[in-house]
Amino acid sequence: MNMYNDTVMDHFMNPRNVGEMEDPDGIGIYGSPTCGDLMQIHLKIEDEVITDAKFKAYGCGSAIASSSMATTIIIGLSVEDALKLTNGEIVDKLEGLPEAKIHCSVLADMAIKKAIFDYAETNNKHYKALEGFDPYEMVQEEHVCICGKDEEK
């Protein structure tokens, strides 16, 4: 019996695309002010397609598994399509996370959006999905790590 299912355990024990890049086209770092968990993602983008993604994460099992899964999803996607990724999709691909751990998947989702935001800013690109997206404000608003206490209390 494990708190996590086999797919989650697989991505947690053997995370895909771990690392950093020499000179990435976009960097996203998203941290939770509540639990101190943090994800960093580097993206390589060629002709509007994400050709590679590398991540590093400080966080719980589901944060690591979600980050790993998220990178496998977005590699090969166009930037537009990658922006459509939601944390719900990551959870689905992982075949579910424990209720109290759903929020950990937001870490990956947000870090990717921030990386694309970074890419858009440096390359003067505009994406509809990023309109009104303010990565600095978000950190304040979103309390990403809801490790369960808030819900159980």
Binding site: N2, Y4, F12, V18, G36, L38, K56, Y58
Partner: protein, 384 residues
Amino acid sequence: MEKRNVYLDYSATTPLKDEVLEAMMPYLKEKYGNPSSIYSKGIENKEAIKTSRLQISKLINSEKDEIYFTGSGSESDNWAIFGTASSLRCKHIITSNIEHHAVLNSLEHLESQGYEVTYLKVNEQGLINPDDLEKAIKDDTILVTIMMANNEIGTIQPIKKLARIAHDKGVLFHCDAVQALGNIPIDVNKLGVDMMSFSAHKLYGPKGIGALFIKDGVEIDNLIYGGAQENGKRAGTENVPSIVGFGKASALALSGLTEHIAHCLELRNYFADRLFEDVFDTHVNGTMLDRLPGNLNISFDFIEGEAILMMLDYMGISVSTGSACSSSSGSPSHVLSAIGVPESRTYGTIRFSIGDFTTKEDIDYVIDAIKDITKKLKELSPFK
């Protein structure tokens, strides 16, 4: 490395010892009578409870009639606090800021009812300064409640000194000794406590059974009203099999105490030595001196506790996180914050607790696993 199952969470609960189960068995089967019945089937149960009471009283050097059975250590804590609070109309209670939630949340409730509570601070090692207690006692203080040994960092408080200070000012002293019983010697007379809480499943007994020592002459109100069980102080048909198990576990704890302490200390210190030698960026929380023999609380830099826990679990090793972020309470541990562990470090904290069935091979296996895991998680970590 061949996978093995290693349980290193004896502070959470302990496995039931075979001898304890054997002692309980008849009371789960043929000896099912109600201890309140006056025919033989009842009386043999009443006798069994008496025996258990005697066994426990020997372990703590009390009179047997000073032991009252409860449903858990938490119930004992609640009873001591609410039982005192309702018999006396005064309004001030003193505790520490590293108590178990059974104490802290009970006091929080009393605060909402108008009570005033003082939370004594502990130093970096987790120890209370007796002078602080002395200064905190006021005219309307009715109770001091301080734990004997902390469940997270294992710190053992100077209970004797603290109890004397309370008594000098005429204040009752309650002590939560749930983690201490069976792990260090306890003598209620020498300590001078008025009430003390215990739980059987921390000393190789069954779950769902606790006890409160109430010193002869100390009067507190009931928490549970009903029948005449436990001298009319705690109603409800007795959980005889568990009471018998608690008694047997106490008898075993008493006869094996020296050995138990030596075993835990040896393995705990071996564990610590190997860890500090082989694994970098680790810190021990609390003091190595006044500490439960089997407890080791370690913070790992740059990596997160739940991830460590899950990977250890994958390798067959059971431990708990210090920060409890993952064991479903979100905020960092109040105990680690109280001893000044920086918040970032509390997230990477693991409590290892060693017990009677732990072997040196277990420790070697765990150290090797930790080496692998920390290496892996550090590669994953964005922090350097």
